[in-house]
């Protein structure tokens, strides 16, 4: 098991390295840099001025070298002009002599966001935390609900209960968040029906999560995911219920309840578990719409802002975090799979 973990972690880091390089190259394409120069130094500067600005700020060097700097394995650039030393690792107002030579992701320095005028690391940590809270509540609502629906529907395939629950899950997963979100706001938060049970905005939840301000965004996301997971669980459960070992259990004289809970459930959860773990990356990036709809400034919202404003360092940071989260959840998913399924044991 330990060697398995070490191997998997190693593979994960390698994947992360490759992916970050791809993202780095894409965000640092020449047109992006030119645009950056223009937003930083004024939009009317000439091409020559753009060149010199890029030169001065360390952008005009080979891509691989700059990737090394960003990673923190190559010393940061320094420029001396008019006796004043500027550099990647020298914060404004800092004495160049005391500044570190290396500053990159490995040293915990993620760059400086040009849009928010704040360190990228700090910014991402804050917004990721907000999305984390949202994700947590979505999972708490979505997973039990989906599994319950799936198991109930799958245990007697073709029954009335199955058809009712299946209709519900298909409907919920066929409704995109921007439709269900708007509907939920209209019904539960507007004066249209007079049911002002919840708040239509989740801005308040950024400081203090309450049932009132958080129920609608959580429900909007959960509804969409529920249908999907429930369908997977139902299919898996229905298959398990027709298997021979369930017949064995039935002919042992066990009650239907015991058969479902003790014999079918664990086997039926193996397939949906992978699907549930795949929901994490989707939640991280796919919640943009809901975050925007409910003005909840989470990770998705940050990513959109970074992309829209050509904030290279922030965009890079967001991408790396997203990649790491995806890889980490997949590792957890693989370990969980092994625990659920005794036929796969890693020795």
């Amino acid at each position: 098991m330990l060697t398995f973990l070490v191997r998997r972690t190693f593979v994960m880091l390698l994947t992360a390295l490759c992916l970050t390089f791809v993202v780095f190259v894409l965000t640092n394409l020449p047109p992006n840099l030119e645009k950056l120069a223009k937003t930083e130094a004024g939009s009317r500067i000439s091409d020559a001025e753009v060149e010199s600005w890029l030169e001065r700020n360390g952008f005009a060097r080979p891509m691989l070298l700059r990737y090394g700097e960003w990673m923190g394995v190559v010393p940061g650039w320094r420029n001396e002009q008019d006796g004043k030393v500027t550099g990647r690792c020298i914060q404004p107002g800092q004495d160049p002599a005391t500044a570190p030579r290396f500053c990159g992701v490995l040293q915990g320095y993620w760059g400086f966001s040009t849009f928010f005028k704040a360190p990228v690391g700090e910014k991402i940590a804050y917004h990721l935390g907000l999305t984390g809270i949202l994700m947590f509540w979505v999972m708490v609502v979505m997973v039990p609900m989906a599994l319950l629906i799936g198991v109930l529907a799958g245990m007697r395939e073709g029954s009335r209960l199955d058809r009712t629950l299946s209709t519900f899950s298909i409907a919920s997963t066929a409704t995109p968040e921007y439709v269900s979100g708007v509907l939920l706001i209209a019904v539960f938060a507007s004066s249209m029906f007079g049911l002002k049970w919840f708040k239509g905005t989740a801005t308040g939840a950024m400081n203090d999560v309450t049932f009132e301000n958080f129920a609608l965004p959580v429900l909007t996301i959960a509804l969409y995911g529920t249908g999907y997971i429930a369908r997977m669980t139902r299919a898996s459960m229905a298959e398990v219920m027709t298997s021979q070992y369930i017949r064995t259990a039935r002919l042992k004289g066990l009650s239907f309840r015991t058969i479902v809970l003790r014999h079918a459930l664990r086997n039926a959860l193996i397939a949906p578990f992978t699907v549930i773990m795949l929901q994490f990356p989707w939640l991280l990036n796919g919640v943009v719409i809901v975050e925007t709809l409910f003005s909840y400034k989470g990770f998705g919202w940050t990513l959109v802002q970074a992309a829209g404003n050509n904030d290279i360092q922030l965009l890079l940071g967001c991408s790396v975090v997203a990649v790491m989260v995806v890889l980490a959840t997949q590792l957890i998913s693989d370990i969980g799979y092994v625990l659920l399924n005794p036929r796969i044991r890693i020795s």
Binding site: F4, Y245, K252, P342
Partner: protein
């Protein structure tokens, strides 16, 4: 409530009818079925697939699924009516008083639950005993089914056990609550012969020990003879004959039973002098059953106007109240008349060698974990194979699963290349030439007939097209018309009607599909045909016809047939020479007579004893092999068979454990790989003896 005194029969089934309901129609699966099982008695239920025997078993358990329904008759268990029993009471009986053992042990155990839990559950639910008590009981029963180290077994998951061990666990599970009736649905079909013999032995012993009545469902008549007291033969949803095993085997009174016995290879059968007689025609589909006697259209004694007039009830056989048959002409037929045997042509003389195999070795490297590597282990699938096969000869390769017989077939076909050694095929060395590099002619000259006809035909191509495709690949025929003509000839060769060329594989029965497979193999005038268990997936009555066909084609074309099988009865019937394999080694080779009579290799001896023979005149020596077949990844040192050999103690010192025995010449063409001395070989008694009538 459950153990009320009842001294009548354990199970009485009267005029039971079961139907399955589809959207289109009602499909009767079982009609007018009656049978009784007395306390302590074993009743055999025999028939071909689709005859309704498993449906009867499920009806007793009242587990017919949503579409199945009991439409008439009654099932009484210890005097209590099961057909109308409410679900809760039924649950009480299931598992505690009636238990069932299934065909596929792996599928019938929960893969995600430890063996211990699955066993303990039964008495906990039915008797409400504590966990500790249930555990003690489980340990006891696991020891009863002769599994080593019960503590460890209880803690393992099903996939950690071998097939034979899993089946023992299923048996243990059935015995946990000491049931009054045990239903065994083809309990050994998925197992190897020697494992099967051990399991059957166990079931018989346990039945005696616990006094359990048994309903033993099987298609194997030999197995029923060994295990049961009485037998009911089923055909197309009806019981056609019932009586004591001796009566039915020796004095059968139904044409179907008779035809069934004539189509299985018994020790006296011979492919030229006393060939098998296949049952003509096909099994009727449930909704296409004929009027009157279901067996009528295939029966030799059929009389129009009488046999097809009305439904035929069961008649008792005169002079024997316990024996009855569903034949209206029972008293008119001369049952002792010998069959009008079709005279087969003389066997073609055996010609020059076409295939020579010398010291062939095939090793596989196995990684501990496919994804992440790990120490490589070597599987020695074939270890120094040497033999030759001659033109027009049938050479049988016999052995249990994992002995390397299929690996050899793959190397010969070129699907794998050999690790070492030589294969000379029609004068060319082919051991290192994979199939992609072989010429079309070489490929056409060595062809294969596969075990499972259901998987080897492309489901979306017509039969004719598939054969023409083979002809195209082999480069036979210049034009499409020529190839088409050849395809039709091939259909004639395998005795299929020409209009089958336009049919899809799904419209064919198993036997017909296998005929198409044979036609395809012979498309390029194959000189050597490797038949890998060609009939083991087919029903007995069809087996005879397909075997016969292979023999006929061989006689006409002088083809060399390499017949891979684990079924020694059929091997004895059709092969000229036999090669016995065990764990990648050839342990014995010789003519069929030499291999089937002493001196034997100890493994051959055990194998012969394990094969059930459906003949009451045959006396067999009882040899049960202990233990499992060792894995080819970790073979025992020295002689491969030493871990299970009953003769091992006769060899001085630890010779068997330290050195692989040499191949010894016993007689002309008869070789045995064993350390036993000449004197001990001379001492061996024949395993199978046919008692005088």
């Amino acid at each position: 409530m459950t153990d009320q005194a009842h001294d009548g029969p354990i199970l009485e089934i009267e005029n039971l009818s079961i139907s399955f309901f589809t959207r289109l129609r009602e499909i009767p699966a079982v009609m007018d079925f009656s049978c009784t099982v007395q306390p302590g008695e074993a009743m055999g239920l025999v028939g071909e697939s689709g005859c309704g025997k498993s449906t009867v078993a499920l009806a007793i358990m009242r587990d017919l699924g949503r579409n199945g329904r009991i439409t008439g008759g009654s099932i009484r268990f210890r005097g209590r009516e099961l057909t109308t029993m409410p679900e809760a009471e039924l649950r009480d009986i299931r598992g505690s008083q009636i238990a069932m053992i299934y065909q596929e042990p792996m599928a019938s155990l929960n893969p995600a639950m430890k063996i211990g839990q699955q066993l303990m559950e039964v008495p906990i639910v039915h008797e409400g005993i504590s966990k500790a008590e249930a555990r003690a009981r489980a340990l006891e029963v696991v020891a009863d089914v002769r599994l080593p180290d019960p503590e460890r077994i209880l803690k393992s998951y099903p996939h950690q056990l071998s097939g034979g061990q899993q089946q023992r666990i299923v048996i243990a599970m059935a015995l946990m609550s000491k049931p009054a009736l045990l239903i065994l649905d083809e309990p050994t079909t998925a197992l190897d012969v020697t494992v099967e013999a051990a399991v059957v032995d166990l079931v018989k012993d346990l039945g005696r020990k616990y006094g359990t009545s048994m309903l033993f469902i099987s298609h194997n008549l030999g197995l029923v003879l060994e295990t049961c007291d009485r037998i009911t033969v089923m055909y197309s949803g009806e019981a056609v004959e019932t009586g004591s095993v001796r009566d039915v085997f020796d004095k059968m009174r139904h044409p179907y039973t008779q035809a069934l016995f004539r189509s299985i290879p018994l020790p006296g059968a011979d492919k030229t002098r006393r060939p098998l007689i296949a049952i003509p025609g096909n099994f009727p589909l449930p909704h296409e059953r004929p009027q009157g006697c279901n067996f009528g259209p295939r029966c030799d004694y059929f009389v129009a106007g009488r046999c097809d007039a009305a439904d035929i009830p069961m008649f008792p056989v005169p002079g024997d109240a316990s024996h009855s048959s569903r034949c209206i002409r029972m008293n008119e037929i001369d049952w002792d008349a010998p069959p009008a045997a079709p005279v087969k042509g003389e066997r073609t003389p055996i010609g020059a060698p076409v295939l020579q195999v010398a010291d062939l070795k095939k090793y596989y490297e196995l990684r501990a974990n496919a994804l992440f590597g790990g120490a490589a282990r070597v599987v020695k699938a074939n270890e120094s194979l040497s033999f030759e096969a001659r033109e027009a000869e049938t050479l049988a390769i016999v052995g249990e699963s994992g002995c390397g017989k299929s690996t050899f077939a793959k190397v010969l076909m070129g699907l794998e290349t050999a690790t070492d050694g030589r294969i000379v095929l029609l004068g060319n060395e082919v051991q290192d030439t994979p199939i992609e590099k072989r010429t079309a002619q070489t490929i056409a000259s060595v062809q294969m007939v596969f075990q499972n006809p259901f998987d080897t035909l492309n489901p979306s191509m017509t039969v004719g097209r598939q054969i023409i495709r083979a002809l195209e690949v082999f480069g036979i025929g210049k034009t499409d018309a020529e190839r088409r003509e050849r395809m039709l000839q091939l259909l004639d060769l395998v005795k299929l009607p020409r209009e089958f060329a336009r049919r899809m594989p799904r419209q064919l029965s198993g036997g017909q599909k296998q005929r198409v497979g044979i036609a395809r193999a012979f498309a390029g005038d194959a000189r050597i045909v490797v038949a890998d268990e060609p009939v083991s997936a087919l029903d007995v009555s069809v087996q005879a016809a397909v075997t016969d066909l292979l023999m006929d084609i061989q006689r006409e074309n002088g083809t060399t047939l390499l017949f891979i099988s684990h079924d020694l009865s059929i091997v004895r019937y059709l092969s000229d020479r036999v090669l016995v394999m065990y764990l990648g080694h050839v342990v014995e080779i010789g003519t069929t007579e030499q291999v089937f009579s002493p001196p034997y290799h100890p493994y051959t001896e055990a194998l012969l004893s394990a094969v059930p023979i459906a003949d009451t005149h045959v006396k067999k020596k009882h040899i049960v092999l202990e233990g499992e077949i060792p894995s080819a990844i970790n073979p025992p040192p020295g002689c491969p068979f030493q871990t299970r050999c009953r003769w091992k103690s006769r060899v001085p010192g630890n010779l068997c454990e330290t050195s692989v025995p040499p191949m010894r010449q016993m007689a002309d063409g008869h070789q045995i790989k064993c350390h036993l001395s000449e004197a001990e070989f001379a001492e061996m008694e024949p395993v199978i003896e046919i008692a005088a009538e």
